[in-house]
Assembly symmetry: C2
Homo-oligomer: 252 residues x 2
DNA sequence: ACCTGAACACCGTTCAAGT
DNA sequence: ACCTGAACACCGTTCAAGT
């Protein structure tokens, strides 16, 4: 008695299909853009070159990205999606709350080193020149993903409170703690290359620095067990192994 | 008996004068660029507009900056020079080593809020697109200034060691500590606006976050007196007053 | 030796025509 | 409804001519 349900279903299916194909093409374009970025540097990424590398025309590319800057923001969204996957994997390693916090820091560090180009996109996307010319929807997408990432961090802090591993006296909120850890991780990973290039430290590995930074902050917070009472160096290596096994090789 | 010392002296004087005038003009150009940046945003800063705002021609501007990106890097050099002045003022406040470390963090925070545009230039200048197209000499200038700034931080850590306020066991070097504090400060100040914009914290002031972050790190390090034994909140306010008095108003 | 600004080249963006 | 690519516009950069 209902009016042609199959027709509706086919229409919906077609529309879905079309959206899925568009989505796939966008993913391909992003991959090509990333490749150009790696091979030619940021100055070498032009819309002409992306057009040449792809099999679509300029107009179609502008159908996906409203500006070159929007393309950069799209790459940063891609970055955050990968980070999200890494965070999920990181939270699947077992251990007490501080080990899990460390796992998240490791995931962040791992991403910054295995995908340096995408990590730099994230930095570029924070720049006003890029924000000013990106579409509102793309910026909203980025924000939503960042919120999800921070959500994972808050989750671990809540676990710590439940375990009685920390006590938040003196008005230090969960949000505040999350933010400070984010800031520490962002700074320690983003500034490593510049600092190294100016010869600031001789043989200090980024890994060790990040681990030391986390330990400093979490010890300061009194997150038990303290680094004096637990071997976080071994823990770090265990996390590294666990995450490497889950993602044997990075995509080409 | 010597050959015309006056002539040489006059020549030198003229040459000095010329260099000084060029330097002055460059300073003026940077000021104008900053003004355009504030009024029109990063997308609004074009070489044409800068030419129009100045009283020189395009060719002359390219005599100062080899590219638009070089101009951004020059603005970041200007930023670092101002930061250096603030650091010097910060170190003139009296107190034990941890108070002096706090003073440096305050100076960094103060700069990031009173000169948001220049602070963003610093962020942009860290971006590959800008680095790739900046002159080697300008990049070297920036590096030298950053090294000077980090030198101030190391100085305070050495003071702490001399005072026996900290003990660096376990291979944690002065450079490592300096880097981690830089990373923390950079992250906490650079991410504040984005985080605020996504509504991550309701009424948390940047100041309080930065202070909390520093306390966490320095407590974790065991830098005496610990925050439980000393009123760093008051100390922070005392530093704020001291730095405001030395520089009553920021330049327009 | 330095300044000028017209000319050039490149590249981001649009849009009329096509399917 | 979507794709195309020629045309456009803007803007970074250069350089022959001038002082």
């Amino acid at each position: 008695m209902k009016a042609q349900p199959p027709a509706v279903s086919i229409a919906a299916h077609n529309s879905d299909n079309r959206a899925r194909l568009k989505q796939q093409r966008e993913q391909l374009l992003l991959q090509l853009a990333q490749q150009i970025l790696q091979q030619e540097g940021f100055a070498g990424l032009t819309m002409d070159r992306l057009t040449a590398a792809s099999e679509v025309s300029k107009g179609t590319i502008y159908n996906h990205f409203c500006s070159k800057e929007d393309l950069i923001t799209a790459l940063s969204v891609d970055s955050l999606q990968r980070q999200l996957l890494l965070f999920q994997q990181a939270l699947s390693v077992s251990g007490h709350s501080r080990e899990r916090a460390l796992a998240l820091h490791y995931a962040y560090f791992l991403f910054s080193t295995t995908e340096p180009t995408l990590f730099l996109c994230l930095l570029s996307a924070a720049t006003p020149a890029v924000v000013e010319k990106s579409s509102a929807s793309r910026l909203a997408q980025r924000q939503a993903l960042e919120q999800q990432l921070l959500g994972f961090c808050q989750q671990v802090i809540r676990q710590a409170l439940a375990e009685n591993a920390i006590s938040l006296q003196g008005g230090c909120s969960i949000e505040e703690l999350t933010y400070l850890q984010w800031a520490q991780a962002f700074g320690a990973n983003a500034l490593y290359r510049p600092a190294q290039q100016m010869g600031f430290f001789q043989g200090l590995a980024q890994q060790q620095l990040v681990l030391a930074g986390v330990n400093l902050m979490l010890d300061g917070l009194g997150w038990r067990p303290l680094s004096a009472d637990f071997d976080y160096q071994s823990c770090w290596q265990r996390i590294a192994l666990a995450l490497q096994q889950q993602a044997p090789q990075a995509q080409s």
